[in-house]
């Protein structure tokens, strides 16, 4: 049962990664007993499972995911939301209002208008249907302040870190509130503009260097240095 790549090696689509007793994981596929890569990425073995951590990918909705989207259209009984994915998401009026929706009287553009940003949760999605969203939960809804940054969706786990170590560190060091949309959109809300910029810098650095080890320590150091510099000025 040979493998043809070491852990953390770079593969391109079609590269034969392993043979025989292995299971095809993420971004791989099996052809008989051979396992090939299906995306550009870095090889990772998880016992008998072969994964490729994709370097380029797009967001595919999953039920339960928290996402950040932009309202693109107002319909008769809901909104169309762009969630940075191949599929347009739908938010129904009854899921956005805390009371029953009355089509004759309610003006949907008063609640959410085109261009508004929302934090939402995916409630339903499958191959045959577009994803459905809800904002009827605490923490969800229209975004009124803060800054938005977009990163590659596959790098969100790196921003979270092991058991949330990275994200909680950034929150602590910058004093910002950060909401991670699993679709690669991140909302940063801080007390001051400088705090927000600091957090954004840290996140951009994580995206650029997502593949390196010891990143959490380096980011912590960077944030501390930046804060000191700011204090000195």
């Amino acid at each position: 049962m040979p493998t043809f790549f070491e852990r953390k090696q770079l593969v391109v689509p079609g590269d034969l990664i392993a043979e025989d007793d292995y299971i095809a994981g993420e971004n791989t596929y099996a052809e008989g007993k051979r396992i090939y890569a299906s995306r550009i990425g870095i090889v990772d073995y998880e016992n008998k499972k072969v994964n490729v951590v994709a370097l380029r990918a797009f967001y595919i909705p999953k039920v339960g995911d928290i996402v950040i989207g932009t309202v693109t259209e107002i319909g008769f009984n809901g909104w169309t939301v762009d969630v940075n994915s191949p599929y347009q998401a739908i938010l129904r009026a009854s899921d956005a209002l805390s009371r029953p929706f009355r089509p004759q009287r309610d003006d949907l553009s008063q609640v959410l208008d085109v261009g508004d940003l929302i934090v939402a949760k995916i409630t339903a999605y499958d191959r045959a249907h577009d994803p459905q969203l809800t904002v009827a939960e605490p923490g969800l809804g229209k975004i009124t302040r803060g800054q938005i940054i977009k990163i590659t969706p596959t790098k969100i786990p790196r921003v979270i870190g092991r058991k949330g170590s990275m994200i909680s560190m950034i929150k602590q060091e910058t004093g910002c509130q950060i909401i991670l949309g699993l679709n690669g959109v991140i909302l940063v809300t801080g007390k001051t503009l400088e705090d927000e910029q600091l957090a954004i810098m840290a996140i951009n650095k994580i995206e650029e260097e997502s593949h390196t080890s010891g990143l959490t320590d380096r980011i912590t150091q960077m944030l501390k240095e930046m804060k000191e510099k700011r204090g000195a000025n």
């Binding site: 689509p13 797009f58 045959a128 390196t212």
Partner: protein, 244 residues
Amino acid sequence: MSQKNMKLIDKKGVRLDGRKPDELRPIKIDVGILSNADGSAYIEQGKNKILAAVFGPKELHPKHMALPDRMVLRCRYHMAPFSVQERKSPAPSRREVELSKVIREALEPSIFLEYYPRTGIDVFIEVLQADGSTRCASITAASSALADAGIPMRDLVVACSTGKVDGTIVLDLMDTEDKMGEADVPLALMPNLNAITLLQMDGQLTLEEFEKAVNLALEGCKKIYTLQKEALKAKYVSFKEAEE
């Protein structure tokens, strides 16, 4: 079509541009050079200069074209007005429409189209300068661009042409050889799966000559494949270096 007084291969077996019969033109591939496209690639093969850009997968417009069980792949092969000696009308010609279809069909088997139904992928191929075998170079570039866009694929696709010039089977035809030669055979290959996705023939070959031409093209494809792979990895080389 060959002219009597024109020699395409001299007595020593050297071609017009100094290549041996089984030699490729110099190839340069760059990946991810357009920031507005989801994926992109640029190829120079001899005097050929071709750009490929990929958008998607995204919601398909017009919507009635969307398929309920798979993605739709759309290709546009287009030659710039300045890509040839005599100005070419920018409107799509019969040849370009045909090549768009042929390229699409060469790429389709390599993509997991069934993964994301009701969506579409757009591939735009712009020939900036043409010098023979543009369909092959286009396929190689388009496949690299698809991989760069993060689209799930079975394998990369590489393409290469062979043909018969002055009675000899030669690899990677350039424009004059294509026009004056006796036959040309473009071939596209998925190298790891060892599957041919495009095979055409223009002109006349005997069965033996055809077999020889196909085998030569397969070899050529494998050579180009290593270059293509290197180009794709080069874009992410910082990832590898940082690991070590």
